[in-house]
């Protein structure tokens, strides 16, 4: 019997693999180099580290950056865009929006489709879906001829009001299929998102057409190679929404996989929230150039209905990952008598001064090295040696400009970097109307555990959690998540006057689609949960709040309008600090989310230590301007029942956890380190 559940997070540099053995209840982590030319090589290298052979797998999920990389490197398909007559320029005008306020040389992002590759079609619907002008079918056939003769690889169709009546888009698809056959990528905007705003819907459809064929070819290649090696279960793929779907389904909705890479960590935090019984978590993932923040609020992931990628909007469910430019490579410098740290970064090349690749400016990594918080022989799991003398020189030189010695300067650089990361977290939590003090901080990624306690103290957060294998936490998150599909439907009307029978009908239709989709993915009917929500706002507002509706607030109930209004007022009050009860409310979008639980055995808790002592070496590390003789402990030596008082440093393959004086660290039964951050002393 196959008994191994496996997840793979295929990143830009490394492929992380996590395996869960259902018999022993234990996890194993593996890591291989990503092989960009044919990702399957890195995948099989990683798999070989955690199991004997592919047929032993009984569940397999992976996150892929294939589509995202194609987009980032602008090597997607050549797309022909079919739009409604009169408004074909909407995609090029991009709402006339600019994001920099003081720049006379401003540039919008270069569209993925040229204006000359946009074909306007006669045929127009009214706002209510009725037909104003019939579709000119001959123009569609002419566009198909152009597709064939000019070497296009995909078609995006984005017609006005298709979210309320898809008939014209469907007719276009029918004709294109007749002309071009079944294998050509045709993206219809209403299938990507049944929501209003033609620019955002067009942008989503274009991105899908641009990246879809590449993702599909990749999935087919990987799946066939896995089948060759005897895989007996369907391959699953991580989605931007934080849920997974079968590769079969992913092939028809490739856009959903576009931002799947970074969401694994957020889903890991969600799984950790359940396992540890801590419903409010802030996840931080710090790498060389970026600092990613994600939230779990009340045991729920923080999911938005819209995202933006290099300025291009995408209408789809996305787990919110807030990225700021702060990382180990952030540069520290002198400006007009002041100290600055980041957001400019030394990047990977030349990188921090201590990399010895020609960088001479001090970075956060150099500062950590000067303070002794990084082991120069054990950076990136021992794959890289650092040069402490180069870090000393760069930091001392900057310190000279301020009359500070290297150690004081180094601690100052870390203090500023930590304060900035903490402020970024505060801004995000304030934006959500939540108080960081009521959360625990989960730190993962290479550098997160090094800074977490300092950041927590800035925010008055009492507890930091370092999960097992923090470097592979994203892969672990994928393994623990559920199957998910999201459905939406634009619906515009005031809450008080809306036809609730019609809303209920829309919701039931979405529910039926949702259940069918999950059953097709092999989920049993009893494991499926459906939830409904409405995007609402006060009349004349623009931003909407998504409010879950059930019970009294479900549209089939007489109490619907009043209950939904109360829920909305309460949500507005908690999010923004004020509400306008009695003001008219309007509905903008209806949503259904369906989750399919995967049955899986629980992991087995680690054995508690019989002896609370653990082996360690001692190193001199600076905390609070003075050197402390600091125990350095191997993570695999730590067991539940042991208590590590700060100062201490915990080393493992992919991460270093820095525990300043005043902290007390314990190990919970499933291996996470729980740090009571205490106070600086």
């Amino acid at each position: 019997m196959p008994k191994h559940r496996v997840s793979m997070d295929i990143g830009g540099t490394f492929t992380d693999v996590i395996e869960f053995n259902e018999e022993t209840g234990q996890y194993t982590a593996g890591k291989s180099s990503t092989t960009p030319n044919d990702l399957t090589q890195g995948v099989f290298d990683g798999l070989a580290q955690v199991l004997e052979s592919v047929p032993e797998i009984n569940f397999l999920v992976h996150g892929t950056t294939q589509g995202l990389n194609a987009f980032l490197q602008r090597r997607g398909e050549k797309v022909l865009l079919l739009a409604t007559e009169g408004v074909g320029d909407v995609y090029q005008i991009a709402r006339g929006h600019r994001t920099r306020l003081y720049d006379v040389h401003y540039r919008k992002p270069t569209p993925l489709v040229r204006r000359s590759d946009t074909v306007e079609l006669t045929g127009r619907l009214r706002y209510d879906g009725s037909e104003r002008t019939p579709l000119a079918e001959d123009q569609v056939r002419a566009a198909a001829a152009r597709f064939r003769s000019e070497g296009f690889g995909a078609v995006a169709v984005a017609l006005l009001f298709s979210y309320i009546n898809p008939e014209h888009e469907l007719a276009v698809e029918r004709i294109l299929r007749e002309e071009l056959g079944d294998s050509v990528q045709i993206t219809l905007s209403h299938r990507v998102a049944r929501e209003w705003r033609e620019y955002e819907r067009t942008s989503s459809a274009v991105l899908d057409a641009y990246t879809g064929p590449i993702v599909r070819r990749y999935l087919e290649n990987l799946e066939s190679k896995l089948l060759d090696r005897g895989l007996e279960v369907p391959l699953h793929v991580m989605q931007s929404s934080g849920g997974i779907i079968s590769a079969d389904s992913a092939r028809t909705m490739t856009l959903q996989t576009l931002l799947s890479g970074p969401v694994g960590g957020a889903m890991g935090s969600l799984a950790l929230a359940k396992r540890l019984g801590k419903p409010n978590l802030i996840g931080i993932d710090m790498g060389g150039t970026s600092f990613d923040i994600s939230l779990v609020i009340g045991g729920q992931p923080d999911v938005s209905n819209e995202a933006e990628l290099e300025g291009f909007p995408i209408l789809m469910s996305v787990v919110n990952i807030h990225t700021i430019g702060a990382g180990g490579g952030s540069l520290a410098y002198h400006e007009a008598g002041g100290l600055r740290v980041g957001p400019e970064s030394a990047g990977a090349d030349p990188g921090p001064a201590c990399y010895g690749r020609g960088g001479t400016q001090a970075t956060v990594t150099d500062a950590n090295l000067v303070l002794g918080r990084v082991d120069p022989t054990w950076f990136a799991g021992g794959t890289m040696k650092l040069e402490p003398s180069l870090a000393d020189k760069a930091v001392a030189e900057l310190g000279g400009a301020f009359g500070l010695d290297a150690v004081r300067m180094a601690e100052g650089i870390c203090d500023v970097a930590n304060a900035k990361m903490a402020q970024a977290i505060r801004n995000i939590t304030v934006d959500r109307g939540i108080e960081p003090r009521e959360f625990s901080l989960v730190a993962f990624g290479g550098a997160g555990p090094m800074h977490a306690v300092f950041i927590a103290r800035e925010l008055e957060i009492g507890e930091v959690v370092i999960p097992p294998s923090p470097g592979a936490f994203s892969a672990w998150g994928m393994l623990e998540t559920e199957v998910r599909r999201d459905f939406s439907q634009s619906f515009y009307g005031t809450l008080a006057d809306a036809d609730k029978a019609e809303i209920a009908r829309f919701l039931s239709a979405m529910e039926a689609d949702a259940r069918a989709a999950l059953i097709a993915d092999g989920i049993g009917a009893e494991a499926i949960r459906v939830s409904f929500a409405l995007d609402m706002r006060y009349v004349a507002q623009e931003y909407t709040l998504t409010v879950a509706v059930e019970g009294d607030a479900f549209p089939s109930q007489d109490t619907f309008a009043d209950s939904a209004a109360r829920l909305f007022d309460a949500a507005h009050l908690s999010r923004f600090g004020h509400a306008n009860p009695g003001a008219p409310i309007e509905i903008v979008t209806l949503r259904a989310t369906v989750l399919g639980e995967l049955s899986r055995p629980d992991p087995v808790p680690l054995e508690a230590a019989t002896d609370a002592a653990y082996p360690f070496e001692t190193r001199q590390i600076v905390f609070g301007k003075t050197e402390h003789a600091t125990p350095v402990v191997r993570r695999d030596a730590l067991r539940p029942g042991m208590v590590v008082p700060g100062p201490a440093v915990i080393l493992e393959q992919t991460a270093t956890t820095v525990l300043p004086p005043g902290t007390i660290t314990t190990v919970e039964p499933y291996g996470s380190l729980i740090v009571q951050v205490g106070k600086e002393n």
């Binding site: 009169g86 408004v87 005008i93 600090g577």
Partner: protein, 556 residues
């Protein structure tokens, strides 16, 4: 006092900027009016106890650095002891804040341990503040036609909303629920700032924050002095005009003289035309802000604004000119001259900062308003009111952007066709680029856009405010001027009528309105434009074959 601590100073500096960002997101996320949440027609700022900016967050550029005028004014009027913990004030008077009456400034003092340590302020545009026409008027002759004029009023006392004042403010708006919502959003924003500034001072200590502040201001001033010292001393000039005052006046001139001397720079605006009868006047404090925007565009685009910024800049304005409005001059369209001033400043530096300048842009907001009653919803009133994007100027090394929101506005997004047709009884026939409208040049000016609206209701009205046709966007370094804007009612029909400004013109079902925005100015000699750039413009339909031949000497 302790020695300067660069680490603590930098931590406090980023905490102050971060606090301003929090205020901004509180305001934007919960505001009602589209001009706040999409045009970012708002600004937030934290001030110290001397009314100097500690932190300001992105919002409308032309509100830059003049929020302090309002707290200073209030203090001058009522004395310093008027500030009480938990109070929040509101003001909109054009001759104090400098802008039109739509712009409400909400502000309150910050206290720590009984000591006044600073102020939290925000400003945002309200949809309707009374006035003779719904939304906005283009033909007012005095301030009293433009709406409710509010001096300094307490709207929250000791933490409690003052209900009668709130009622007065919102009762005078035609859209009273949104006004109430925007007021609450602004109060929430001010309270966020009060809380954050107090928390920062409690955390770091009032003396440490004051010391850090002095150092931060000094750093910013030093940076700007260095930049200005690098500009050659001299006098630089530019002038241009807005078409008229909305009542059919002669063109109104904005004249700028820039004097650079060592580390100081002076913008002398005193030769600008006398105050106009129509609503194009602007309070002096706002003219100074616009000068600061232009200065910032050229001198320090990426640096946050604080109390040390603009210390090298003097702005001279003449009371009684359109940039120094005196009661009761109407001020509704105060920003048209300011957009022009910004473009003129860029032009003035053409030869001294060649790598930072660009040709002129299409102008300012280019607003269309269509109002009436919507029969689809039982005749409820509707008001479609939108700025239109235009072309931007080219520069040495780049073509101007086609179809981009103007420099005076924030980061507006145009209104989606699907939203317009759903919410208003209007059919948008087309929305597209306006080829050949950008100025020619080695680098081409950006093209404007065309929008065609078909009216699907009787008894409606039309207002227009389109500008910059007398001095359309000019080119630099030999680049050509752009095509000016153009608006039509029923173009090509016997009852056709063209105009750029109109107030509440009656329109009916079947009428068709076409608006065309101007392009941006070109840069450099068009005859040396790269052949492949001309071919690309031809292929993409941004220039016509005639223009390619005539201006660029292109032969296929």
């Amino acid at each position: 006092m302790a020695a300067y601590d660069p680490i603590l100073t930098e931590i406090i500096r980023s905490a102050l900027n971060s606090a301003a960002d929090e205020m901004n997101s509180t305001l934007i996320r919960s505001a009602y009016t589209p001009v706040i949440y999409e045009m970012k027609d708002c600004a937030v700022g934290l001030l110290d106890e001397n009314h100097k900016t500690l932190g300001q967050s992105a919002g409308l550029p032309i509100f830059l650095g003049n929020l302090e005028i309002v707290t200073e004014y209030t203090e001058k009027l009522y004395g310093r002891e008027v500030w009480q913990p938990g109070d929040v004030w509101i003001l909109n008077d054009s001759y104090i804040a400098g802008t039109h009456l739509h712009d409400m400034t909400v502000y309150g003092p910050v206290f720590v341990d009984g000591e006044l340590v600073g102020f939290s302020t925000c400003r945002a545009h309200w949809l309707d503040v009374g006035g003779k026409d719904a939304g906005s008027t283009t033909d007012s002759v005095d301030i009293f036609q433009e709406g409710l004029r509010v001096g300094a009023l307490r709207v929250v006392e000791g933490g409690d909303l003052v209900e009668d004042v709130t009622d007065l403010l919102t009762r005078n708006s035609r859209f009273s629920y949104p006004a109430r919502g925007d007021l609450f959003a602004m109060i929430a924003c001010v309270k966020t700032g009060q809380g954050r500034l107090a928390a920062i001072i409690e955390k770091f200590g009032v003396e440490n924050v004051k010391q850090a502040r002095d150092e931060i201001f000094a750093q910013t001033a030093r940076l700007e002095q260095e930049t200005i010292r690098a500009i050659p001393d001299g006098e630089y000039h530019a002038e241009g005009c807005i078409d008229d005052d909305g009542l059919g006046s002669d063109p109104i001139w904005v004249r700028l003289k820039v004097i650079v001397a060592g580390e100081r720079i002076t913008f002398d605006l005193r030769e600008t035309s006398d105050a106009a009868r129509g609503p194009v006047n602007c309070g002096a404090s706002q003219a100074i802000s616009a000068a600061r925007v232009a200065y910032k565009l050229l001198i320090s685009p990426d640096k946050p604004v604080d109390g040390g910024a603009f210390s090298t800049l003097d702005v001279l304005v003449r009371d009684g000119s359109i940039l120094g409005a005196q009661p009761p001059s109407p001020c509704e369209w105060y920003f048209s001259s300011l957009g022009l001033l910004i473009d003129l400043t860029v032009k003035a530096f053409e030869t001294v900062l060649p790598d930072r300048v660009a040709g002129a842009s299409a102008g300012d907001s280019m607003v269309i308003g269509i109002g009436g009653n919507d029969p689809r919803n039982g005749g409820v009133p509707f008001l479609l009111y939108e700025p239109t994007v235009g072309g931007w100027g080219a520069w040495d090394g780049g073509d101007g952007q086609d179809g981009l929101i103007n420099n005076v506005n924030g980061s507006l997004k145009d209104m989606a066709v699907e939203i317009i047709e759903t919410k208003y009884p209007v059919h948008m026939v087309y929305y597209r680029f306006r080829p050949d409208s950008g100025g020619v040049g080695r680098w081409r000016g950006g093209n404007g856009v065309e929008r065609k609206y078909s009216v699907e209701v009787d008894g409606a009205w039309l207002s227009l405010w389109f500008e910059r046709s007398v001095t359309p966007a000019w080119g630099l370094a030999g680049g050509g001027s752009a095509t000016p804007p153009e608006c039509w009612l029923n173009e090509g029909r016997p009852d056709a009528r063209t105009m750029l400004k109109i107030n509440a013109l009656p329109i009916k079902r079947g009428d068709v309105i076409t608006t065309r925005t101007g392009g941006g100015g070109g840069y450099g000699d068009p005859t040396v434009r790269a052949r492949d750039a001309v071919e690309k413009d031809l292929r993409e339909g941004q220039i016509s074959p005639e223009a390619a031949r005539e201006h660029y000497g292109y032969r296929p």
